[in-house]
Symmetry: D3
Subunit: 253 residues, 6 copies
Amino acid sequence: MRDIRVRELWQKQQCAFNGWLAIPNSLSAEAMAMSGWDSLTIDMQHGLIDNAALVTMLQALAASPCTPMVRVPWLDPGPIMRALDAGALGIICPMINSVDEAARLVEYTSYAPMGGRSFGPIRAGLVDGPHYQASANQRVIRFAMIETRKALDQLDAILQVEGLDAIYVGPSDLSLSLGCKPTLDDVEPTVQQAIEHILERAHAHGLKAGIHSQTVNFAKARKALGYDLVTTASDLRLILAGAQDLMKAWRAP
Amino acid sequence: MRDIRVRELWQKQQCAFNGWLAIPNSLSAEAMAMSGWDSLTIDMQHGLIDNAALVTMLQALAASPCTPMVRVPWLDPGPIMRALDAGALGIICPMINSVDEAARLVEYTSYAPMGGRSFGPIRAGLVDGPHYQASANQRVIRFAMIETRKALDQLDAILQVEGLDAIYVGPSDLSLSLGCKPTLDDVEPTVQQAIEHILERAHAHGLKAGIHSQTVNFAKARKALGYDLVTTASDLRLILAGAQDLMKAWRAP
Amino acid sequence: MRDIRVRELWQKQQCAFNGWLAIPNSLSAEAMAMSGWDSLTIDMQHGLIDNAALVTMLQALAASPCTPMVRVPWLDPGPIMRALDAGALGIICPMINSVDEAARLVEYTSYAPMGGRSFGPIRAGLVDGPHYQASANQRVIRFAMIETRKALDQLDAILQVEGLDAIYVGPSDLSLSLGCKPTLDDVEPTVQQAIEHILERAHAHGLKAGIHSQTVNFAKARKALGYDLVTTASDLRLILAGAQDLMKAWRAP
Amino acid sequence: MRDIRVRELWQKQQCAFNGWLAIPNSLSAEAMAMSGWDSLTIDMQHGLIDNAALVTMLQALAASPCTPMVRVPWLDPGPIMRALDAGALGIICPMINSVDEAARLVEYTSYAPMGGRSFGPIRAGLVDGPHYQASANQRVIRFAMIETRKALDQLDAILQVEGLDAIYVGPSDLSLSLGCKPTLDDVEPTVQQAIEHILERAHAHGLKAGIHSQTVNFAKARKALGYDLVTTASDLRLILAGAQDLMKAWRAP
Amino acid sequence: MRDIRVRELWQKQQCAFNGWLAIPNSLSAEAMAMSGWDSLTIDMQHGLIDNAALVTMLQALAASPCTPMVRVPWLDPGPIMRALDAGALGIICPMINSVDEAARLVEYTSYAPMGGRSFGPIRAGLVDGPHYQASANQRVIRFAMIETRKALDQLDAILQVEGLDAIYVGPSDLSLSLGCKPTLDDVEPTVQQAIEHILERAHAHGLKAGIHSQTVNFAKARKALGYDLVTTASDLRLILAGAQDLMKAWRAP
Amino acid sequence: MRDIRVRELWQKQQCAFNGWLAIPNSLSAEAMAMSGWDSLTIDMQHGLIDNAALVTMLQALAASPCTPMVRVPWLDPGPIMRALDAGALGIICPMINSVDEAARLVEYTSYAPMGGRSFGPIRAGLVDGPHYQASANQRVIRFAMIETRKALDQLDAILQVEGLDAIYVGPSDLSLSLGCKPTLDDVEPTVQQAIEHILERAHAHGLKAGIHSQTVNFAKARKALGYDLVTTASDLRLILAGAQDLMKAWRAP
């Protein structure tokens, strides 16, 4: 069985540095995997990853120690179970706004009796080995995204849903939902307050907390706040930001 | 920001000529895009387009002035938001049969406070520019497909759902639902009556109306009726019809 | 119109031998299609088949007499109708646990008035010919997977849902749900009892019964029990088992 | 063993009607295959077909009676043998300008002792059956493209190369090479003369003759001249021409 | 007809800033295309671009003003003509070591009477319009890579080959060939001398000169030297370098 | 730097057990990689592997200890260097029939001064690390396929070409060339004699010898003969043979 680096860090009370994959390609994924991230999340919601790319990208991560995670498009059993069968060891699910939704996330990501995940870990079992079935419920990391006012209103109830491992904050959607400008880093005070509140409640309920950022400075600031997993910079963002820097340098006298 | 040709035509009270893409390929899409359509709709319901092809096909349309639209497979938030993030500027959603379904269509296609679309316009923002977030709710065109008896029964209520831009008639499904033979063009009188009724009610509520046709003659007849967007002939249909004509000519003495 | 071998066998009260496709590739699919199966099922649930591969795999089966079937990821109208439009003549739907779910399966797989399948059989009509629309409701084989305790509790009610053609047993999930070790072949007595009970009730209601197995010996035993379609060995399993045998032979003195 | 429709027609002294595939997609290929062509040629030279599409396109032709042929990119052993192994039963090779080149074409397309084709008919053997090896040298149709002044100068010598089955005229390149405007149909007199000369010499040497055309009228005229295989209209051309017709009809008053 | 930005800059005696695409993906290509490069080169030699990706990547560049170029794998007519037919307006050909090789590069990239390029500009003609055939010989930019001692020895003769537009220096291969460590930027003095010599001779013969660099500082230095096109940073390099920077920042106290 | 298992075994005078990949898919490749082979060869000659699949398949092998090798389509610099850049650590080149061809194989697979391989190990360097350039000439294993009478005639001269690591016998082509029935295992006496002769000469010149087989029994027999690498059973063959066994068992009473 492979080690799960994110869980190892958490056991040592350390913060995981998570990268983000938006390009549907296994070569960019492999380049990221060689770069030292603790985990990499394949974004099937806003990233343009399709199911064929998902498989080759998970394979491209397999030789590196980073934990392979997937942000699924929505709280639907089909894509969630598929990502797990393909070998994802962490699931980040958007828009968990109620106890019922949180419970369904656990149900879809857990075998009976804990949940109702259908059995057939085609690649997960191949890569992880024969013990996969017995350990998957304990190994898979379930992140519920807290990113709306509605979710904030239900926060404590959501956090008590058994089987949830962590929450994950999406600052852009949270900003939009709270009537603020959607941004990942330099959020408005209302949003910043919510970010701190969610962290505090998650820890109070014994859950871990992750959060999306754009730049490493904000990622570090949120680590300093106490977040347990911080994301920065997708592969696509690195290309865009890097090219922008080059243009600036090129045009400079 | 790109102009949206369909909206421009509508502002001038003109009818848009919409083409249809069923082949999951960017070269056929580009050939269609070079052919003068006002808009092209990538059919993810009955067409065989997958998510990887969706991206490359939207890219193949980018250099042409035609408005890129997607018919989504069903009223599901995942695929709808994904099509928007990939750059679709119009969404045609099948089987909108109730006020609740129409409202969900608006919700899935609109950022807060108008709806609950999740923020992350990965390609849409790249192509459209930094103003995308502020303008997307106004720019994206939402078509609710009216194609069942049930929808007809709820028509006025559906048409009052705030945020809906247009309806789109699917004559085949409408025919089936009304107990008639499924056909796109030469529909039975009951269906023709419904087609005219839907148009009249849409305009009465200030919405635009689009409709599917197979041949250009019927498309023109429906334009003459007052429809604001008419579809004809998919890429696949052009191949099949064109080859049939060749065979006939070849075998003729 | 193509013959549907599974239906032909059933009319003769014979058992169909079903193969399983988990590799998203048309060459492995074609190799399987040349191997003599009565039907082949493309697994979009646990197999790693994406929508692009689905199309090419269905095409790879078209020159052989085996019946092309698809196990869909979940009871969702989008993917089910899409598989049918692409040319599947059988649908195996996982996790049918209630009368309502069984009724929805029929609804999604049948044109009006029998159901609410949307009309647009893009490849199915191309391959099957102009009579597809009139005959599809009778030709498509609908399998409801019975694989939970909940489904067992509702079994007779589920089996009475009009339009259902057959049930399909997933021994692994059924085992998990009944508190047993998930396995396909050598199941615990409780599961074996359920397997026999489901068969007896299906036949009592005039439905056919299919079941998943891993090895041909168990497939034959289940045929002997009276099952009407038995599955064994996916393409991927053949590779893994074949390679394992080679390794053993290689290392033997 | 599959029948080879082109060879059957030739035995009856009839002309084969050949379609052309330029879009790298198996669905457009299958639509063409259902349209009644005697043969279909996958164009790997000017068409945008890649090696992955080649395989799925050949599979898409397998259920139809049309003969699957490939125009290879160039006189290179790798791609030629690969097309044959994938199941092509005809090879059209561009730019055969000398006896040596014609001889190499035969060598690359024939097993020893006739040539030096490497043995491993992976899909061809699968589809054609165990007799493939013994019959391939007789079954595969070898077309040498005659399309330059240089080839004209060597014509009789080229036509005597043992193993060649046919020549294939590319009117555009031939026009260019003769200093005329490149066109497929309405060629300048010098080119027309060459087209008739090549045909006459091919028949004199007992070879068959094929030719590329754009429209069916010119294809028929060339059939009337005595050509044994005439090509018209690629899938892409059908889309472009069909869409152009629609635009004209749409804009007509 | 599209403008060719590189030729425009050259007419104004300005230096073009060229980006490099190594990831076989149209989304990363489009992100690069939105970033302001004067030209982008799709690397089919060392980059991992396949023929299917080539098409979608060229399409992804079509909406931007940057000139689409391809570095072909080798001096082979098949891939070179294919890149041109797919829409490349510049060809960078590796390892041109002799007059004969330079002449063949011109031959493969030029229609008769200038060369022997086969006619069939499937996508190039579609995108560029009906004048493509008449102007292609003048529009396509032909770069011969000078990157070996052998080429240096023949330099003046190579530069006199009619039809060549430019040379392109590969500092790594040039270094290896001159017995130095392969590096792109900080080359050994022998190599630097060669780089300056090649530039001087190219200009003396009226040819333009391009060169590969890794960092923008060296690109600017080479522009200052007089190079007419300088390359820096592939998409893949931007990901690797950007991720490395993030790791450093993350680990910094 | 990764260990190269084949070289390790050879240093211990042991025989490597090589598997074969003919299906262009990364999942079947990964399943093979998990099965214990010492090396796996991706067959780009007779297998249907395209360049896109090559990359994902090499990635699918990266987490396993088996040595990734590629059989290239032909002795062409483009595809050979591309396979190396993508990460192949062994190259099997078909149809090496002369000293010149053997020398070219070494040239294409070796950096200067040993050869003329162009520098740009995009994925090889990423996966192998910064020392790749300095060690590649020593690490890459070069197999020249000896499979014709012509090669036999030149055998000793070929074997003396500096830089060659091994030969690889293709029994089918060798049989054809010697006028025998093409078969992999139970070859005619003339071929068997050649197989033993080649082995003896290879060892006499200090080279290793590999050979293709179909079944494990023949593989073992050839190991017993002294061959240093023996191949058996492609992924596709495992499917076909496995399915055939199942059919036999199914039909048995």
